[in-house]
């Protein structure tokens, strides 16, 4: 039988209702009353899924017209980022550059300029790809996410938000409202390293490191990785073992310690073996780069 491939990315081969409410409450009402309704933010993940018919929502609720989801604010001891803030807005934000340089570094490496102008930080997290570039830095900063529904709101650590590849703990009718990032109080060095096919492809492996030293001893270190487990992960056991050791010793120990906490797989982008070896290497590289920045931050007036 003749089979014709009807997938052609010019058009979206299905239809749905579309709403662009101006208040969060309105969005929540639509979301809970329309069975099969789905949130859309920048659409850079969702439109691709719609074109390939990987999802078939009855309605799309566009949240990019909701003012309260679009701002970045500084509170007492934290930075709060609205879920519909775009990746390019993160790159250009003075607050993010000053307080969350690790996030700024990762945001700059996400997609192309055209994609960053559409893509949102909330969409990046809710899409729950193990390769999501904003996840490792936000995990390293101990970020929390605020989830809201008509029934109220809850705040949970980002680490507990991811439930598996493309899965989160968001319940039906729930929206990610904002990401709250506690300020890292120590003098710190940072580094985000991403290995990908092209500079704007999804990561085969990525690593984020925050590092603080006392003399030459590791006073605090945070290590988070992307694309090496079902979700983006913190290497907490490694962090604990490395705290209190000399920096050079920590760099030597880190690869094997981190390797124990990840479970990479084979997929279209890479192989498990490659991911494991590269993860070990870029964790070292990221620690060294963070170290250099730590020294430079200290040298600044």
């Amino acid at each position: 039988m003749l089979s014709i491939n009807l997938v052609n990315t010019y058009r979206i081969p299905q239809t749905f209702e579309y709403y662009r409410p101006e208040s969060l409450r309105e969005a929540l009402v639509l979301l809970s009353t329309i069975e099969g309704a789905k949130v859309v933010a920048g659409g850079t993940d969702l439109l691709v899924d719609l074109k390939f018919r990987r999802v078939t929502p009855r309605a799309l609720i566009d949240i990019t017209g909701i003012g309260e989801l679009r701002s970045i604010g500084v509170g007492d001891g934290y930075v709060e980022i609205g879920s519909a803030v775009t990746i390019q807005e993160l790159v250009e934000s003075e607050v993010v550059g000053r307080h969350l340089p690790l996030l700024a570094e990762a945001a700059e490496l996400l997609g192309s300029w055209q994609i960053r102008n559409l893509a949102t930080v909330g969409g990046n997290l809710c899409n729950a790809s193990p390769a999501a570039d904003t996840a490792p830095p936000l995990l390293a900063y101990d970020a929390e996410v605020e989830l809201v529904s008509l029934g109220g709101s809850r705040r949970i650590p980002l680490e507990r938000f991811f439930a598996g590849p493309k899965k989160t703990v968001l319940e039906r009718g729930e929206v990610l409202r904002s990401i709250r990032v506690p300020l890292y109080r120590r003098r710190a060095g940072w580094s985000f390293i991403k290995i990908a096919r092209t500079s704007f492809d999804l990561a085969k492996v990525s690593a984020a490191v925050l590092l603080s030293l006392e003399g030459d001893t590791v006073a605090d270190v945070r290590i988070a990785l992307g694309s090496v487990a079902p979700t983006p992960v913190r290497a907490r056991a490694a962090e604990e073992s490395l705290t209190g050791t000399g920096f050079e010793e920590a760099v030597a120990l880190a690869p094997e310690l981190v390797a124990r906490e990840i479970a990479p797989i084979d997929d279209v982008r890479s192989t498990a073996w490659y991911r494991l070896e590269v993860a070990k290497t870029i964790v070292k590289d990221a620690m060294r780069r963070a170290y250099e920045r730590f020294l430079r931050v200290g040298a600044a007036p």
Binding site: Y10, F16, G43, L47, D62, T64, N117, L118
Partner: protein, 152 residues
């Protein structure tokens, strides 16, 4: 549904289906053929337009979303003073082979210069999302450098 937005300086009103992308509506309903379809999934930049001052891939934007916004397309950009200079620089450096990627490059370069990009390295980064199937990158970057010297 009916959407109204500013297109290349004038207000347009057009009926669209909720599942139509901005690329579909510009090309098929408004007959603006300077916006090209390459990959349809955000990877090539052929469909680049300027939405509220920022370049975006119109294949990943729902048309219904641009109500109230301002959209600039490559043909408009090419008619501006700066756009003409960009095209001239590309012609002089042989930066156009089959030409399919050119409207996208033109539009991204235009947006970058308007937003203050003045050095070749930043321009190269701004252009990562524009692919040239003819792989004419060397000449495109030559054109960019010639242009930047000019703009400075």
């Amino acid at each position: 549904m009916r959407v109204s937005f500013r297109l290349n300086g004038s207000v347009v009103e057009v009926d669209v289906e909720p599942h139509e992308t901005l690329l579909n509506v510009l090309r098929d309903r408004l007959k603006i053929k300077s916006v090209k379809y390459g990959c349809g999934i955000g990877e090539c930049g052929a469909c680049t337009v300027i939405l509220d001052g920022r370049p975006v891939t119109s294949c990943l934007v729902l048309a219904a979303k641009v109500g109230g916004s301002e959209v600039l397309t490559p043909d408009y950009v090419a008619r501006t003073e700066l756009g003409r200079r960009i095209v001239d620089a590309m012609l002089e450096e042989g930066a156009i082979q089959c030409g399919y990627c050119t409207p996208g490059f033109l539009t991204t370069i235009y947006a970058a210069i308007i937003r203050g990009v003045r050095d070749a390295d930043s321009m190269r980064r701004a252009l990562l999302g524009n692919l040239c199937r003819c792989t004419g990158y060397v000449n495109i970057m030559k054109a960019v450098k010639r242009l930047l010297e000019d703009v400075r």
